[in-house]
């Protein structure tokens, strides 16, 4: 390990020789990073689609649901993990409760924006054509809300990829582990490479989702905000 063996040793930002012999370390970190992200966004969708539909159908649910997840979203992730550790321990459960909780706000909010922006004329036309409420929801309202839902998935995915690094403090972290290692060992290579990989992962995931959206919803222009 390059750490002060020679007084004039200067740690380069990226030590390519070290990097070339430690590729598997980065591969497994990326794997863990992606697994944690997929569970967070998938779990978030599994909760937020029924919850969003329910909040749209029963208006009195809308504000309490948004307010609750707004509060969760405001809690800093490190604090949330710290509060959960005595009950759920160090590990995946603690990390995913936090990460899923954060994605739910983004996804529910976008789903509601999508459903609420369906023009009333379209709903009238669907009713006039004899759609029952459930069929109207699945065949008219949800397809029209897809662009907003996709925008939510993009934001949730990019946000989660950034947040996963923080789970290094509860024993996971994906690429965050290597950032932590760089900090502890005062060694630049894992720190810099893991940070760059995390940014790249987020941007590539975002581009892939834009591509998926073009295929699934060709009429939307892929705007996310």
């Amino acid at each position: 390990m390059p750490s002060g063996l020679f007084l004039d040793y200067v740690d380069p930002w990226v030590n390519w020789t070290w990097l070339s012999t430690h590729i598997p370390l980065f591969v497994s970190a990326v794997e863990q990073h992606l697994t944690l992200t997929v569970i967070a966004v998938g779990g978030g969708l599994a909760i937020s689609i029924p919850l969003g539909i329910a909040a749209h159908r029963w208006r009195s649910l809308r504000n309490p649901v948004l307010a609750f997840f707004d509060v969760v979203y405001t809690i800093p992730s490190l604090a949330l993990f710290a509060l959960l550790v005595p009950y759920t321990g160090l590990g995946v459960v603690t990390a995913e409760i936090g990460l899923i909780g954060y994605t739910v706000l983004i996804l529910v909010r976008n789903l509601l924006v999508g459903l609420e922006s369906v023009p009333p004329d379209v709903l009238d036309a669907a009713d006039g054509m004899g759609y029952r409420p459930l069929a109207r929801l699945f065949r008219v309202e949800l397809p029209l809300a897809l662009p907003a839902i996709f925008a939510g998935v993009r934001i949730a995915t990019v946000t989660t990829i950034g947040l996963v690094t923080i789970t290094a403090l509860i024993g996971l972290g994906g690429l965050g582990q290597l950032i932590e290692r760089g900090l502890i060992e005062n060694f630049h290579t894992p720190l810099v490479v893991a940070t760059v990989l995390s940014i790249a992962l987020a941007l590539v995931a975002d581009l892939l989702l834009v591509g998926a959206q073009r295929l699934a919803v060709p009429w939307s222009r892929g705007a996310a905000s």
């Binding site: 509060v71 979203y73 405001t74 809690i75 800093p76 992730s77 490190l78 604090a79 949330l80 710290a82 509060l83 550790v85 005595p86 009950y87 321990g89 160090l90 954060y102 706000l105 983004i106 909010r109 924006v113 934001i155 990019v158 946000t159 990829i161 950034g162 947040l163 690094t165 923080i166 290094a168 403090l169 690429l175 965050g176 950032i179 932590e180 760089g182 900090l183 005062n186 630049h188 720190l191 810099v192 893991a194 940070t195 995390s198 940014i199 987020a202 941007l203 975002d206 705007a223 996310a224 905000s225």
Partner: protein, 242 residues
Amino acid sequence: MVARGSFVSVISLVVQWFSDPAHWSGPDGIPQRLIEHVQISAESVAIGAVIALPIGIALGHYGRFGNVAINISNVGRALPSFGVLVIAFQVLGLGNLPILVALVALAIPPMVTNSYVGLSEVDPDVKEAARGMGYREVAQLLRVELPLAVPLVMAGIRTSAVQVVATATLAALIAGGGFGRYIIDGFAQQDYTKLAAGAVLVAALAMATELSLSALERVLVPRGIRLQRAPVARRVTTFKTA
């Protein structure tokens, strides 16, 4: 491994921690940690605002580079705050400077995007009317466009501030102060009570930031456009870095 406890015993330990006078004085006391946390956060948001707001406002006013203004938030979301802090620490060494630099970098994107959107969405008819009434460009910007954009500009500042307060918690990892100290030290010493107390303090500070800036926003929004608040709220960028 941190000791596991029942819900009630954890709460009573945390309550005991808070009622211990030793935790309310000295360099590791709650008042001192609060000052550190608020100070570095306020400085970061202020410096970030001085950089970001003129850019966002100018881009929105002239309606140029909209893609850049929108996408900067996406890039900001992609930045892992943990990595950014540690890199700043390795470049700049110990002290408040690396924390400040990292927090300013994370504070800028939401403010650019929200102020851009706020300014660019001012009704063109309103701008034309202002011109017709004889407003010069600067007066039109300051007295017509900015007041109409206040809800989104303020929402951008609030989003940044809440995220900076959250990210400042991580500063304890690179030897910074603030409430993050209790969490990081609690983990290191396997002192669960300290950990939970720190988590409560951090969460409360983030909430307080959100609520006080929402209140400020309500005061600053011109009376004439308060009715439009609901649609504004849903256009606001969600942003979470820590």
